[in-house]
């Protein structure tokens, strides 16, 4: 495929801007959109943002240099990847690679978020900070600090379904969400699986795996098609990804969520995740250390009644 040169000599640079609130930093390059907020002394925030911008510049090119390898199924043993972010991606997916198909791309968003957060913390001392890469979030919490996460099913509407508070004393420093509505394809049918893990890259990889596990294999109401028929260079290749989920009975919804919860509990037990919230057709199932709870919304109760 022939490539035509872009505008002669023009170097592609990321977009770097403070958002309208003057507090948060927005970095964008190609498919990467980061929303960043640091709290602390003003000078430190400035230093941190400068460091984030410096690290972000050229980051996409660095990743793309190894894109073919990143799109291949990860080996559970070793990797030829060189870049620090690429290696982090591989490390995040490796624990899952023995059991199922996964590529380092499953952890790309969280790994980038972690990298930028690391650059910020290396440059300045901050009370707290987050790097949100399209919903995959790397957190820094100083002593006594906390971070509130809201789960929303309709970002265009106000109001969170529920909120979780992550405290400095908790182990989680990464949050990620995966599902069939996301930017990348899902092998499962979950609307969203949100995972808390020690790092953003681990959360990202685990969310992908758990979202894939929320499934009703062979169900007639679930339309699937080959990933490469939608995106020719998808890392999922010919695997069937979910396009549409038709009407499911309440029992089927629970069955699909249970399948995901089994997977989530496995990784919880292995210490790879801290908690997970699985959502499908208005039902939410929470998996965390002590219990498995299912929240049934009123509409569903009415439907069953």
């Amino acid at each position: 495929m022939e490539r035509k040169a872009g505008a002669a000599g023009m170097t592609r640079l990321p977009q770097i801007a403070l958002l309208a609130d003057g507090r948060r930093l927005h970095l964008q390059d190609g498919p990467i959109d980061l929303i960043i907020e640091a709290r602390g002394r003003e000078g430190d925030i400035r230093e941190a943002y400068a460091a984030a911008s410096r690290r972000f510049t050229g980051l996409l090119d660095e990743l793309c240099a190894e894109l073919p390898e990143l799109r291949k199924a990860a080996s559970p043993v070793q990797t030829p990847l060189k870049g620090v972010i690429a290696r982090r991606m591989h490390a995040a997916v490796r624990p899952f690679a023995a059991d199922c198909f996964i590529t380092p791309m499953a952890a790309v968003a969280g790994s980038v978020a972690e990298e930028i957060l690391g650059a910020m913390l290396g440059a300045a001392s901050l009370d707290s900070a987050y790097v949100n890469n399209g919903g995959d979030i790397a957190l820094h919490l100083g002593d006594g600090e906390q971070f509130t996460v809201g789960l929303m099913d309709r970002p265009d509407r106000n109001g969170a379904l529920q909120t979780m508070v992550i405290r400095a004393s908790d182990r989680a420093r990464g949050i990620a969400t995966s599902g069939r509505h996301g930017r990348s394809f899902s092998l499962g049918i979950a609307d969203a699986v949100t995972v808390l893990a020690r790092t953003a890259s681990q959360a990202d990889a685990a969310a992908t795996i758990i979202a894939n596990a929320v499934d009703l294999p062979g169900h007639a109401a679930v339309q699937r098609c080959r990933a490469d028929s939608l995106q020719p260079d998808s890392d999922l290749g010919p695997r069937l990804v979910t396009r549409e989920v038709g009407a499911l009975s309440p029992a089927e919804v629970v069955a699909a969520l249970d399948a995901g919860a089994v997977c989530a509990r496995q990784w919880l037990g292995a210490g790879l995740i801290e908690a997970a919230a699985l959502r499908l057709c208005g039902e939410t199932m929470i998996v965390r250390t002590k219990d498995v709870r299912r929240r049934t919304n009123e509409l569903h109760e009415l439907a069953v009644a």
Binding site: K4, G6, R12, Q15, G30, P31, D33, S229, L230, Q231
Partner: protein
């Protein structure tokens, strides 16, 4: 910059970034910013990720016309590279997408084309109608959301000021979105229904007659009632004893008016309601409305008191006509000096038609107004204020989609442009919300260098000919008549 090469399969390779997505028709790349639309790489809403819902890559914002293109590449020197589809970033820290040089009259000219993201923007709408649209300062709404206000009345027209940063970003999210939609539709010459608090509902479309409360306005008034008397007094002289030109602003009465006096037209004993301004000129004969001459009346006799028996006489004739000639009635006083409507005699009917003929077609005109005072200038030059100064000094010509603009005096580069002069689909938006409009700066190459231009990025126009960066647009031959 984005280029594309159509493969046999119609999949295209996007090179907007190093991911180099291979995109199928109808699909978007990994970034959701670029998509394959019928084999063409198009930019979708550049910030769609912040707002995307389940409709994966579903919304395409038309940055360029998809109309018939004869396949010709750009021609010098008639070709003017517009900024439409040039793309931009915000803030504009990097050189504008196209900086093109061409030679005009032997002088090497540079045109910097970019699309500006304007949150400080709006439209000024002029609606040619005498009908009452609403009180000054009244809120103008689209889909129930406040999008602007009624401002001054002008001669035969009512002005609206819509948009602006307060409606776009200062109110609720919905207000901002609806305002943005209304501005974009109006700027792209599409019809928009607006309702005015305490007034009318009007459908506005640039270059088209307004539709006020469901009635399509055909003509502007020829002048106010008094002016109409002045213009037609001679033509009425000897054919009728009295003429009343009904007008919401100034209703004219022939026999009392200076023009009538000069023709020695006798008093008729007519008694007008309303407030007399000067002889033969009356304010406030009725309330404003969508009836005769922009008043609320449907029976013109309702603005008359009884005729004065001292001067009036049975058989006296009277024409009542609106300022557009749209309404006209003819009366003869009976024995009790009451006006009785009868058929309009032919010579008077002709004068009514003459009034109609002198009324210009009523149109809505939409001027897009925006300020390019901010970072957009940095995409043009290293030293933004020099661009502003250069525009002020008339060394740099500013155009929008190739259309001439009026640049306001004073600080910044605040300009207005007639949207009907711009190519179709010139406007887009980002969900900030803000409008995306093309803007081009043309100046001498030497001046460009002097003001700190991005000389490294200047490309000769000829170099664009083979580039698929360029999508030549057919110029809209009939302004304001677009799909």
């Amino acid at each position: 910059m984005v280029t594309e090469t159509a493969a046999a399969t119609d999949k295209i390779r996007c090179d907007a970034c190093p991911v180099m997505c291979y995109i199928k028709p109808g699909a978007a790349g990994a970034c959701d910013r670029y998509a394959n639309h019928d084999g063409k790489l198009v930019r979708v809403d550049p910030h769609i990720i912040l707002e995307r819902t389940v409709e994966h890559g579903g919304r395409l914002v038309p940055f360029q016309a998809t109309g018939d293109w004869d396949g010709k590449i750009v021609h010098q020197p008639d070709t003017f590279v517009t900024a439409i589809g040039a793309g931009t970033t915000y803030p504009d820290y990097k050189p504008a997408p196209f900086i093109v040089s061409s030679e005009v009259d032997g002088v090497d000219m540079v045109t910097v084309v970019t699309e500006g993201i304007f949150s400080y923007c709006g439209v000024k709408v002029k609606i040619d109608t005498d009908r009452y649209l609403g009180p000054e300062q009244a809120t103008v709404r689209a889909q129930g959301e406040a999008v602007g206000h009624v401002t001054t009345s002008e001669y035969g027209s009512q002005m609206l000021s819509l948009g602006g940063v307060h409606h776009l970003t200062g109110g609720s999210k919905k207000e901002g979105r609806v305002t943005c939609d209304a501005l974009m539709d109006l700027s792209n010459c599409k019809p928009v229904e607006l309702s005015i608090d305490g007034g009318a509902t009007v459908i506005v479309q640039a270059g088209q007659p307004p539709v006020v409360n469901g009635a399509r306005e055909e003509r502007m008034r020829v002048g106010c009632g008094s002016a109409t008397i002045g213009m037609f007094a001679k033509q009425w002289h000897g054919k009728v004893d009295e003429v009343v030109v009904v007008d919401d602003h100034i209703t004219g009465v022939l026999s009392e008016h200076q023009a009538g006096k000069l023709l020695d037209i006798a008093d008729t004993g007519i008694k007008m309601k309303g407030r007399r301004s000067t002889p033969g000129r009356y304010f406030q004969v009725a309330d404003p409305g969508t009836g005769w001459g922009g008043t609320n009346i449907s029976d013109p006799l309702s603005i008359l008191g009884p005729f004065d028996a001292k001067e009036a006489r049975p058989g006296l004739t009277m024409l009542m006509v609106s300022t557009t000639g749209e309404h006209a009635s003819y009366y003869v006083l009976d024995e009790a000096l009451r006006p009785v409507q009868t058929e309009i005699p032919t010579p008077l009917q002709q004068s009514v038609e003459r009034i109609q003929e002198n009324c210009e077609p009523a149109l809505c005109t939409v001027l897009f107004m925006a300020g390019a005072g901010g970072s957009l200038r940095a995409g043009v030059t290293d030293n933004p204020v020099r661009l502003t100064r250069s525009v002020k000094d008339a060394l740099t010509r500013v155009t929008s989609g190739g259309a001439p603009v009026y640049v306001w005096p004073g600080g910044g580069i605040t300009f207005m442009v007639d949207v009907t002069q711009m190519p179709a689909g010139a406007f887009g938006y980002v969900p900030t919300p803000a409008l995306v409009a093309p803007i081009e700066f043309t100046l001498k190459l030497s001046d460009y260098a002097a003001l700190g231009g991005h000389m490294d990025y200047v490309r000769p126009l000829s170099s664009l000919k083979d580039s698929s960066d360029i999508r030549p647009l057919p110029w809209s031959a009939k302004p304001g008549r677009r799909a």
